[in-house]
Symmetry: C2
Subunit: 406 residues, 2 copies
């Protein structure tokens, strides 16, 4: 059985994802599709719209056969670490290829760019250092250094967000000596960061989330046009069951409380807290009425918005440097969130070849890093209504992997 791997957040699963999924399956000539999906907190440092269990259902009902969780220690991270974790999981799960969407659509451009930068590594690093010395953020410095070096249009346009991610996936494959074959398909229409609908059926997850949170009833209705039916139904169901969707605003009280009751010395221990930032966060927490205001107060040229959102997720989930600094480059376990019948057959046949322990039930597994996933899920559950919160705090232990027969 040939398996193609995808790296996803599905926040929420939309028509663009459905297209990518089918195109990947074809490009890889695969029998099953395996997705490595972030848990409840995402790479950009935000809570997912709906829980990982609902996003797993969306994935399975839309053509994914197996969903594994990308552990917190890789999911809420800069692109390179994120990619390393995800690639190591797909390899461990026996995938033959990894297929990602990109603006470029040309896999050879990715590979050329990697070798080129490896050759010029020293110069490249010097350029990055030079730009950071001028006070710009790390991602910005990389882009500038790259611009200086490249120039020929043979190379990848690393100003495009999906090209950057794809580049990191390919680089992780190379660095890990992985046997995964990298594949890419061109993304349809919507740009990653689009906030408005620009096509009739394809829209970015960003614009869909914006519509979901819109106070205009019309905007919310329009969503049906951009997501497959199961997504729409599950979103409705989630809203009914839990009273709404998750966003930073819901966690503002908890983050503010955390920051105003912590001593600077305690906050220094939070992962990614660089010297002096802790005072900035505390100050902003005292002065701000909501999360947006707080973010605008802590933003500087030196740190990207995303980096500061991730830092805030780590503060919220009480994730410490001591817990994260020893995380190995590769994942340590394959946490199964859900499967279809085909996924189950794949598992039965292949799991003896998996190079990592398969975790279907948390209570029987004691790996240290999984504590971070559990704490993240529990922090995420804190905004559920009091009456169901207790049950949700135990969900990690009680919820078996989702199984969808089809």
């Amino acid at each position: 059985m040939r398996a193609v791997g995808l790296i996803v957040e599905y926040n929420p699963f939309h028509n663009g994802h459905a297209y990518h999924l089918q195109a990947s399956k074809e490009a890889a000539k695969a029998d099953v599709v395996i997705a490595v999906m972030s848990g409840n907190f995402l790479q950009r440092g935000e809570p997912a719209l709906v829980s990982k269990w609902y996003r797993t259902q969306m994935a399975l009902l839309n053509g994914v056969d197996l969903v594994f969780e990308l552990p917190y220690c890789f999911a809420v991270q800069k692109a390179a670490t994120f990619a390393n974790g995800a690639v190591s999981l797909l390899e461990a799960a026996g995938c033959e290829s990894l297929c990602f969407g990109s603006e470029s659509g040309d896999i050879s451009a990715f590979l050329r760019t990697i070798s080129f930068l490896e050759e010029k590594q020293q110069l490249f690093n010097e350029n990055i250092k030079h730009h950071m010395g001028k006070g710009v953020s790390y991602p910005k410095a990389i882009a500038l250094a790259y611009q200086q070096l490249s120039g020929s249009k043979d190379f990848l346009d690393l100003a495009k967000p999906n090209n950057i991610l794809g580049f990191q996936y390919c680089k992780a494959i190379v660095d890990q000596n992985s046997r995964l074959e990298p594949l890419t398909v061109t993304r349809k229409n919507a740009d990653y960061h689009d906030e408005h609908f620009t096509s009739e059926t394809i829209a970015s997850a960003t614009s869909i989330r914006k519509a979901i949170f819109s106070e205009e009833p019309k905007a919310a209705k329009k969503i049906g046009q951009f997501v497959p039916e199961p997504t729409n139904r599950l979103l409705q169901q989630y809203k009914q069951q839990f009273g709404g969707f998750h966003r930073w605003g819901n966690y503002w009280d908890l983050l503010q409380y955390k920051l105003i009751t912590s001593a600077p010395e305690e906050l220094k221990e939070v992962y990614e807290m660089e010297e002096g930032l802790e005072n900035r966060l505390i100050e902003a927490a005292h002065q701000s009425t909501n999360f947006q205001e707080y973010m605008e107060r802590i933003k500087t040229k030196r740190y990207t918005w995303t980096r500061l959102q991730r830092l805030s997720v780590h503060a919220l989930t009480n994730t410490k440097k001591t817990e994260m600094n020893n995380v190995p480059e590769k994942a340590a376990y394959l946490r199964l969130l859900g499967m279809t019948q085909a996924g189950k057959e794949y598992l039965n046949k292949m799991k003896k070849h998996f190079s990592l322990p398969l975790v279907a039930k948390l209570s029987s597994f004691k790996e240290k890093e999984i504590l971070l996933d559990i704490r993240a899920a529990r922090t995420y559950a804190m905004v559920f209504p009091k009456t169901i919160r207790t049950q949700m705090l135990y969900q990690e232990y009680q919820q078996p992997p989702i199984f969808i027969q089809k």
Copy 2:
């Protein structure tokens, strides 16, 4: 100018307090009344119904001339520590006497009991140890040991809550070699813990709070009968301005969040966290839907309800052993919360004789323990509506002492 000192919480100020105040002033033949009042968290380990600023207004409008804050490090403590802090403040503020309400009403009984227990100290301590060995709580062990020793009705009935407090005040005076003269007046009617109205005009603060939180509109209306007009008016005003009153239930989300995101090793550092209790608290936080349920889960014979509520306040305010274990027996500053015209005149005349620094503006004062008061006030403010919370977080720095001209 002769000053009498009172030790109060005024949660809220009611007719019984008004009676105690007048009776104390007469008994002491005093010109001014000085109250040492707990801040936003109280001795029984609960948030005060309304903030210390509103309770200061109640005090001043009802006959108190000067209100000083009992610092957090004495206010949220067992009776003996509470008494030591309060007595040291009244002495520092130049009071000639301390007058407390008691069931006994006979000051000589207090003093006799103290000398008696001092004589029998060794035996007394052995008896306490003996009872604690059987697994009962510390206060219960004291009561049992005392019962064994006393017997003669000349001695104080230490089963009565106000006698216990008064006993601790007298003991603090003796232990500190204070020049305060201890006085006591008999309490009118209501028992400390009464939950129901038993008289026409005097009711316990407990029963008044119960009526305030009652969902029956009639019960709330009845309050006017048991509190002076200014209290009633200020309570209405508070409700209008802040949307309601404070109780543990409002802080449940924050406490639950704190407990579920903390590692046991972190919680071990919380003040008063005894070996093993941290796991009990974490477990209960995961299982409970509200504060009451949580308390019932953590309660054991070994710890009183009050002790566990105080521990929960310390967890909520992130108060550490390292911050509290070095707190000296006596207070280090006189934080002025409010004054009347007479109080102001007293201050002008007497402050040069004060044995502690007088703090009217926080921004000009850097004593370490005051950080605990500030953090407590900020934690307390976390349940105000988002729109005014920011302003309230700065109240400690912006609010000058309340002045009431009359």
